[in-house]
Symmetry: C2
Subunit: 217 residues, 2 copies
């Protein structure tokens, strides 16, 4: 399993200059393919390779720092499950679906996932673990409390929150991520994403919605 990310917390220990360097690396990663070279990063960031090596150790360190830096930027707002009505639950689910679709269809996510997938194929799987931890598992960690609250309020019925989450994940993402990663053009407009979020939420509620209605009152 190993969803452990043993590395430094970051985003606090980074100087402003280092952040701009990582931003440059990120932009380069998105524009060019995953084959970013140290020389290219140095040139783009207007810094010397010597500095890159001093700060990040080696190419893998730079890659890892870049991925973690991006990950630290996408902390989405926590949703508190305190409103617990069917309307607010639906809205929350749609919101999660929408956010997730926007993330996985963004150029940044695609580039980062590509490099992480390639990295996972070549020995050390650090990047894959980082991306997974800040993507799929972070989503689960934020969504599960909402699901549990929905069950508590009698709006949802499921035995295992993990299983319910994975179904929701599948209903939202479907074939989008793998198609994008494999280079399929797939125009996802704001409207299409919104529609997909609503559809996925409705399907999820059809599968896991309580048939008896709220039993709390």
């Amino acid at each position: 399993m190993l969803h452990i990310v043993p590395d430094i917390d970051n985003s606090e220990t980074l100087t402003e200059r280092q952040k701009t360097v990582l931003d440059a690396a990120l932009r380069l990663l998105v524009e060019e393919g995953d084959d970013l070279t140290m020389t290219a990063v140095a040139r783009r960031a207007s810094c010397s390779k010597e500095t890159l090596y001093k700060w990040f150790g080696d190419r893998d360190g730079l890659l890892t720092a870049t991925v973690q830096w991006q990950a630290s930027k996408v902390r989405v707002a926590q949703v508190d499950g305190k409103g617990l009505g069917l309307a607010s639950l639906t809205a929350s689910l749609e919101r999660f679906a929408c956010d997730w679709l926007k993330v996985i269809s963004s150029d940044t996510s695609i580039a980062l996932n590509r490099v992480a997938v390639g990295h996972a194929g070549s020995g050390k799987d650090n990047l894959g673990a980082v991306v997974l931890e800040n993507g799929r598992f972070a989503l689960a960690k934020r969504l599960k409390p909402v699901l549990e609250a929905g069950r508590q309020a009698g709006l949802l019925e499921f035995a295992d929150a993990e299983t319910a989450f994975r179904t929701f994940f599948g209903l939202v993402g479907r074939d989008v991520q793998i198609r994008l990663l494999l280079g399929d053009r797939l125009e996802l407009t704001e409207a299409a994403i919104g529609g997909d979020a609503i559809r996925a939420t409705q399907q999820f509620l059809a599968l896991f919605g309580a048939k008896t209605g709220p039993q709390g009152l």
Copy 2:
């Protein structure tokens, strides 16, 4: 979109010797990461690099031929939608789900998808298109007639076969493929796959099954 695979049909124009070479490349791709070198392939296949270049042009040609060769091996049996009862429809869906889960969790598929994803990130997207065409789109092409037959028989209700298929795809695959590609260990036993196939099929039928029962009789 471009799901066009403009290259040669293959698998007919290949000699036995060439097939064994591609098998060697495939094995190497699965064992080592995606960083297979021409030298390694030549050594493993006991052939000269000169021969590799004569047959496949360059490294990309070899990669493409390898992917297409594997693709040509996984033509799954077509399911005829002529039994059209709820039981046989369910069985067909479960069969598809089972086969698909086995494919995407196989070492070969993971390795091939990894190299294709990496390739899609670096300019020419040929490999990605090939993998997509022989994976997700081939599955759709085989499954849609079954869905249409199910609708014809009054067992399913949906407006668009493509949309219905994508939902099924999401229910079956969920987060499995991306987790595996990112290096997550994820033991998928035969039993777990079978259970997931049944669950996905039941969920799909719950969403798209006709509420009125078969109207054909």
